[in-house]
């Protein structure tokens, strides 16, 4: 399934509005904000229709999925928006992740668990904001130019050290940039290792910038956010992916490229690409396959480290200054 969907769920007393852009959306946050009520209303409306007294307005059918026979129901449900509440332990299983990956449905999951088997985006983690009977979703993690911080940033980040999630092309690019500017750079060799590379206890004045794929960093966000809250010298730069940065640089020719980058949700078929960074990699490989910029994720083509190309990629890294502060 592809596309963005606006959903309105309401009865006489309560009104929810949410917009879903990707295959996996998480809702978490404080107790008492109406998360379970939302899933219960979706369930009642899908079972009893208009006779439930609940109105669900959406271009796709919405339904809830409970623990009983979830796998059978899921394999027979197509192009729905499926809501799951935290009561089912199955949502953290590898079996559910495999079924979700193969599915042509979108999922809205209410849970505080990290769900490391699911590659969801930092942008698609929401909490419910309540004002009287009206409930809408707000992003949990504040961002400015893909720079994530517990506070709204008013200053450009000026890192002394960079840690990348990537150990291949993305790391090679940032290592080269950091070497030029006398900034230390290392790879965490995977997103789940990032939390071990920074400390919640601030030591010295060194500012560390974590660079990771925002499209799939969701499972690590809760802990990284808590680290950033205690140690303001840690910041996260979370573009969709390194390949997305290259595509955004303006140096790549591609059919309808800017339309796709402006509205990826209209181009990315969730059944084909479990998370968006895989799509952007495939798109970059396709766009560059017959040129000197031929891209490989495993090893960085040196053309990306030369003059105008390198600068164009860095220019698309908004909010970061690579010159060392005096």
């Amino acid at each position: 399934m592809k596309g963005q969907y606006h959903i309105i769920v309401q009865n006489k007393r309560i009104h929810y509005e949410l917009t879903i852009r990707r295959n996996i959306t998480l809702i978490r946050g404080d107790s008492g904000t109406g998360k379970t009520t939302l899933v219960n209303m979706i369930e009642q409306a899908s079972k009893k229709g208009a006779s439930s007294g609940i109105s669900v307005v959406c271009d796709r059918p919405c339904r809830a999925l409970r623990e009983d026979d979830w796998d059978i129901i899921l394999s027979n449900t197509h192009r729905h928006i499926i809501f799951l509440d935290e009561e089912g332990q199955f949502i953290k299983s590898k079996e559910f992740a495999a079924a979700a990956k193969a599915s042509d449905n979108y999922f809205v999951i209410v849970t505080r668990e990290d769900l490391p088997n699911l590659p969801y985006s930092a942008e698609e983690i929401y909490e419910i904001h309540t004002s009287g009977k009206y409930h809408d979703l707000r992003r949990m993690y504040q961002e400015m130019h893909q720079i994530y911080s517990p506070e709204t940033l008013s200053e450009i980040v000026n890192p002394d050290a960079v840690v990348t999630e990537d150990s291949n092309s993305g790391y090679e690019f940032f290592r080269a940039v950091c070497e030029e500017h006398n900034i230390s750079c290392r790879s965490a060799e995977g997103k789940s290792n990032l939390k071990y590379t920074v400390s919640p206890v601030s030591k010295g004045t060194e500012q560390t910038l974590i660079v990771a794929d925002g499209a799939a960093i969701g499972p690590e966000m809760s802990i990284l956010y808590q680290i950033m809250k205690k140690n303001p010298r840690v910041k996260c730069f979370l573009p969709e992916s390194f390949e997305w940065l290259i595509l955004k640089s303006g140096q790549i020719d591609g059919n309808m490229l800017w339309d796709i980058l402006d509205h990826p949700e209209d181009a990315i078929e969730s059944q084909e690409y479990f998370s968006w960074e895989r799509f952007f990699t495939a798109l970059l490989v396709e766009c560059t396959k017959d040129s000197y910029l031929r891209y490989s994720k495993a090893r960085l083509n040196e053309a990306y480290l030369r003059g105008r190309m390198k600068q164009a990629i860095l220019d698309s890294v908004e909010g970061v200054c690579w010159e060392r502060a005096e």
Binding site: I14, G29, S31, E86, Q89, R112, E113, D114, T130, I227
Partner: protein
């Protein structure tokens, strides 16, 4: 003392709201501690053991209070020996978990790193590692080192 166990363990209730709906006692609801927790978390008032006044939903039965408050009430009053999954609680429940843990030995199960930031005089035994932590920072460092969720 508050004791925290991360990950799947025997004797734990993964979804405490279901257990609560089937096991709660009327006197738990009208206890001043529950009245305070329901007021703080759900912004609702306990009218009687069977009726809660919600500002959004109107008068509701006890079974419609939030999963977080149900879990807190179980932590405070249930004596069955079950260990309750505190990942059913939002961070706005953290101070209440600590308050209950100060009054009695309370073991909770977590499947995520709960944010105890701002909880006064935080202290807990991290059962997975056997270390007692005396601040949120110590807890966070220790919790990150624990692989089980």
């Amino acid at each position: 003392m508050l004791k925290i166990v991360f990950g799947d363990i025997a004797g734990a209730v993964y979804h405490p709201p279901t257990y609560f709906d089937n096991q709660y006692e009327d006197e738990w609801i009208t206890d001043p501690l529950s009245v305070e927790m329901i007021r703080d978390i759900d912004k609702s008032e306990v009218v009687s053991a069977n009726l809660i006044q919600s500002p959004v939903l109107g008068p509701i039965p006890v079974k419609e209070i939030s999963g977080g408050v149900k879990t807190l009430i179980l932590m405070a009053f249930d004596t069955s020996g079950w260990i309750f999954n505190a990942s059913a609680c939002g961070d706005n429940c953290a101070k209440w978990i600590m308050a209950i843990g100060r009054k009695k030995d309370l073991t909770i199960n977590l499947h995520h790193v709960m944010d105890f930031d701002g909880v006064e005089d935080f202290e807990a035994l991290m059962v997975n590692t056997g270390k007692t932590v005396h601040s949120y920072e110590e807890y966070l460092v220790e919790a990150i080192s624990i692989k089980e969720r």
